[in-house]
Amino acid sequence: MVSVEIDRALEWLQSTPFALAIAENDILFPWIESFHVLAIVLVVGTISIVDLRLLGVASLDISARRLMRDIIPYTWCAFAVAAVTGSLMFSSDATHYGHNRLFQIKLVMLVLAGLNMAAFHLFGERDIERWDAPGATTPVAAKAAASISLFAWIAIVSLGRGTGFTMH
C-alpha cells in the first residue's frame, strides 16, 4: 500500500512542469548536474577540513570552534545548492531514481550524515571548552563523529556516481 502511494507521488513529481522541462531539454540536465558536482565537491572538501581537525590530524594550530564557525557556513551553502540541484535531477526521472538501489542507499547515507552532525552538535560539542584550544587532544566522541562524517560523505559521492551508471 505504502509503495503504491510512493509510486503515485513519484509519478506526480515527474509530471510537474519543471520536471518535464528538465527531462525534455537537452542542456538543462547537464547544467544542473554540473552545479551539483561543484556543490558536492565543496561540501566534501570543506567538511573534511573540519573532520580532520576533530580527528586531530590537521589545522591543530586553530581553535576547533573558530575553524567550524569559519568553514561550516560554506559547507551549508554548498549543501543547499547540492540539495536543490539534486532534487531537480531527481524530479526529472523520479520513478527510476526512486527505485534505484544505489540512490536509496545514498539517501540513507545522507540521513546518517545529518543525524551524526546533529548528535555531535547536541552532545559531542558540549564539553568543547575543554578541547577547543589549539593543540589540545580531541575526545573520542569528536573523533568518532569525524570518522562517521568522512565515511558517510565518501559513500555519498560513490553512491551518487554509481547511481549515474545504473539508471538505464
Binding site: 542542456i27 547537464p30 554540473s34 566534501v44 572538501g45 577540513i49 586553530i62 554509481g162 551508471f165
Partner: protein
C-alpha cells in the same frame, strides 16, 4: 600518427580491453577522481578566501599556504593517474572531446595561477600579503578556473 590512430591504438591495448569488460572500473575511478578534486578545489578555495580576506585572516599567509598548497599539488598525481585510466578505457570519448580539450587548457591556466601563488608567497615574505589588488584578482581567477574545470569535466559526458 593522427589523433584517430592514437585513439585506435589505445583502444586495442590489453589494458583498455580489460577495463572495458570490467564494468566496475570506470565508476570507481571516477569516484576517486571526484573525491580528489574535492581536496584540490576546496584547498584552492581556502587559499583564495584567505587572499580575498574572507577568513583564515588571523593566520599568517605563509601558514595557510603551507597547509593548503601541498593539497593542491600532490593530489594532481592521483588525478593524473585516474584520468589516464579513464582515457585508456575510452580514448576517443576524451581525447577528441572539445569539453576535455577545454578542461586541459583550463587546468594549465589553474596550475599557472597556483604557481603564481607560490611566487606571491616568496615576494610577500617582506610585506604582509604583497600587492593586495593583485592577490584578490588572482584569487578570483583561481575560483573561476577551478569551477570551470569541474564543469568542463562533467560536460565531457555530453559531448561524447
Amino acid at each position: 600518427m593522427t589523433l584517430n590512430q592514437i585513439c585506435q591504438w589505445i583502444d586495442h591495448t590489453a589494458v583498455s580491453e580489460w577495463i572495458k569488460q570490467a564494468a566496475w572500473v570506470v565508476p570507481t575511478v571516477q569516484t576517486i577522481h571526484i573525491l580528489t578534486i574535492a581536496v584540490v578545489a576546496s584547498s584552492a578555495l581556502m587559499l583564495d578566501l584567505r587572499l580575498i580576506g574572507v577568513f583564515w585572516g588571523n593566520r599568517p599567509l605563509e601558514v595557510v599556504k603551507a597547509r593548503f598548497l601541498p593539497l593542491i599539488w600532490w593530489p594532481l598525481l592521483l588525478l593524473l593517474a585516474t584520468g589516464i585510466i579513464m582515457i585508456t578505457a575510452e580514448p576517443a570519448r576524451s581525447l577528441k572531446n572539445p569539453a576535455f580539450q577545454l578542461k586541459m587548457l583550463l587546468l594549465i591556466a589553474a596550475l599557472v595561477v597556483t604557481g603564481l601563488f607560490q611566487f606571491l608567497h616568496r615576494r610577500s615574505s617582506t610585506s604582509d600579503d604583497g600587492p593586495r589588488a593583485a592577490a584578490v584578482t588572482l584569487a578570483i581567477v583561481s575560483i573561476v578556473l577551478w569551477s570551470s574545470i569541474i564543469f568542463a569535466g562533467r560536460w565531457i559526458a555530453y559531448f561524447a
